[in-house]
Each structure stands twice: as C-alpha cells, then as structure tokens.
C-alpha cells in the first residue's frame, strides 16, 4: 500500500487519505463490468502519458439528483479509445455536482457559437466555465442538459479555461460524445469524414465499427498537447 500511496502522491499530486477506487482507478460512477487491475493502473500511472480532467455535473437549485448517470461509461470509453489508439489515458481528478440556476431549471446553455476559431463567449458560458476550476485539472467537463441550439456537446471555451460540455439527458448524446469533445480540446483535433474515426463530423451516432479509431497524426497532436503529462 505504501507503494500505491507514494505513486499516487508523486505522480498524481494526491495527498491525505487515498481512495483506491477514486484516486487510483479513477472510478467515480457505476462500476462498469470490466477488468480493473490496480497493478495495471499503477503501471499506467508511472509510465504512460495522461491528461487530468475534472468532472462537473450541473443540476438545478434544489435538485437531489447526483452526478451524471453515464459519467463512468464515458470515462471508460474515453480511456478505451485513447489507451488503445494512442497509448495515453485520462485521469479524472474528481467529480462534483453543482446545484445552481445559472442555466435555468432546464440547465440549457445559451451559447453564442461552437467555433474553434474566433469563438464568442456568452455570459452564461462565461459563468459556466468558472465552475470546477479549483479541482486540480486544467480541463473541466461540464455535464449539462444541452444548449439552447440543440447541440449534444461543444468544446469551444473561453480563453484560458479549457473545457467542454456534454448533454446529460439529451437523446443525442452517445457513448462517444465525451471522448469526441475531449478530442477537440486535447490535441485540437478537428472533424474528419472517416466514419470509423472518433472525430467523425457527422455525429458520433454515425460512427461505424466501434470503438472508434484515432490516426497517428491525431495521436501525435494529442501527445503534443500542453496538458499531457507523465510521472
């Protein structure tokens, strides 16, 4: 256990009481039926490049609902693709539920646009992307109910506050929306026309032959991202 604690402390900056489930394995939701080996994870922590992501679920004031119900599925799918295709992985630093009417009781974001270039930040987006900035990751994922425009996710963000949002109850969010939007952030990957690829621009519900692929150039961009780190 001392070795686990030392690894988590030195590689992931976690101190105090260490939770094997959350701090080591990065499990914050329902445990999907898959093999979670502590030894493999420790090896990954020590040797493989990773990116930290904070998870914030936004609920209306007074709601007793917890974190997003598909959060763990999304994390597992993201790691499945990023590990298999690029050899990197995602470390969730924590999961937080914020109760607020910042986006109304329907929790829909009024966003000016979803453009990677010349993005204009709305007042609500400005407020939303302040949340979770104290959790220990540069990149924050917001689980909201969608946008007023009907999107299922978007990676456009205010300068200096990297992050993206996914819709937590929209019918269009798929198991690949989270890793797709993260792919826009980490490595600044754009849309592609290959339907087997994670970054397919015609909707992740149109991805064929899942789990989706990432190409070498996409992995190279991910590998060169400013927030990718190694122990």
């Amino acid at each position: 256990m001392a070795s686990v604690r030392n690894t988590v402390r030195s590689c992931l900056d976690k101190s105090g009481t260490i939770s094997l489930r959350e701090d080591v394995l990065g499990v914050y939701g329902d445990d999907n039926p898959q093999d979670r080996s502590v030894l493999d994870q420790l090896d990954r922590i020590r040797n493989d490049p990773f990116v930290r992501v904070a998870l914030v679920t936004v609920r209306p004031s007074g709601s007793t609902a917890g974190q997003d119900g598909d959060l763990q599925r999304d994390l597992d799918n993201t790691n499945r693709v990023y590990q298999n295709e690029c050899g990197g992985w995602v470390y969730p630093v924590g999961s937080r539920v914020v109760n607020t009417n910042l986006l109304g009781t329907n929790v829909l974001l009024d966003q000016n646009d979803c453009s990677g270039n010349g993005h204009s930040v709305s007042d609500e987006e400005d407020d939303l992307f302040d949340l979770g900035r104290d959790m220990g990751a540069d990149i924050v994922c917001y689980f909201i109910n969608g946008s007023t425009g009907g999107a299922f996710g978007c990676a456009a963000h205010p300068d200096g506050r990297r992050g993206f949002w996914t819709a937590n109850s929209s019918p269009g969010r798929t198991p690949w929306t989270f890793p797709h939007e993260l792919g826009h952030i980490v490595g600044d990957n754009g849309h592609v026309s290959d339907t087997d690829n994670l970054m397919y621009g015609g909707g992740t519900n149109g991805i064929t032959d899942p789990p989706p692929d990432l190409t070498d150039p996409q992995c190279n961009r991910i590998g060169g991202d400013e927030d990718l780190e190694t122990c």
Binding site: N101, N106, G150
Partner: protein, 156 residues
C-alpha cells in the same frame, strides 16, 4: 418528409453545432429553404427542429423570413423547443423578432428566462423596457434574478 442534402443532414446529426454553423456561413439558399421546411413540418423531430431554428437564427440577410417561420410554429412547440425559438429570435435581432418575443410571453419560467436573454441581445429601448419590467414584476424569482443580472451587466 423533408428532403435534406447529405452535408446538411450530417450537420444536423453532428454532436456539436460547428458543422451547422459552417452551413450557415456557406449561405446556400436551398439549405435555408430546407431548414425553414424542417421548422414548419409536423414530422420533424424535436432535435432537428431545434437545430433548424438555431441555424435560421444565425442566417444573414433572411431575418424576416426566419422570424416569420419561427413565429408560425410557436403555438405548437414543446417547452424546450420554445426555449430554442426564443434564443433564435434573439439572434435574429430585428424589430420584428423583438416584437414576436414581446408578444409570446410564456407560462413556463424557463422560456421567459430565455426570452430575457434574447431581449438582452437585442438591447433596443423596447427590449430593455421589457427586461426592466420582468426584473420587477415577473412571477418567477429565477426570471426576475436573470433580468436583474443582465441589467446589472449592461450597466457595468
């Protein structure tokens, strides 16, 4: 059933709205007509109708036609579609769009809250008067607070 060309259909299915914003930038009149038909058709899914309204709200130089299409379906929209409609009308931003916003006061607080956002985008005298009124008199504390917040932001 509305016929949709392949690139527009992909944009309507995309997880994010970036591809649909590209369609708007390209400005193909046929796409505008398709989007207008999608807004009006009773067979259109909620997701497609919301995205179509959002695209119409950003379409340059066709503002009155876009506003008219959205107003024509307002009475039969779901609450979440009406929120999208308010947002689109705010982006259209013309006096005609503003007047539709002022006429279409909803029973649903979240729709009125979005109407406040939309009026704040327009920011002309009539829009600001309406926001001031909602800041004082709206039945919903959430709507009053949103209106007050936007007034305070505009004053700073």
């Amino acid at each position: 059933m509305v016929e949709i060309r392949e690139q527009l259909e992909k944009a309507l299915n995309s997880d994010d709205l970036g591809p649909l914003e590209t369609i708007v930038e390209q400005g193909d009149p046929d796409d505008f007509e398709t989007l207008r038909e999608l807004v009006r058709s009773e067979e259109t899914s909620e997701t497609y109708r919301r995205r179509a309204m959002s695209a119409l709200g950003r379409w340059p130089d066709r503002e009155d036609e876009a506003a008219e299409a959205i107003e024509s379906v307002l009475p039969r929209l779901t609450e979440i579609e009406r929120i999208t409609a308010m947002s689109a009308l705010g982006r259209i931003g013309t006096p005609a769009a503003r007047d539709i916003l002022l006429r279409s006061r909803s029973d649903a607080p979240d729709v009125r809250r979005q109407a406040v956002n939309a009026l704040a985008r327009i920011r002309d005298e009539a829009a600001m008067d309406a926001i001031r009124e909602m800041a004082e008199e709206d039945d919903s504390e959430m709507v009053r607070e949103k209106a007050q917040e936007l007034l305070a932001r505009r004053d700073t």
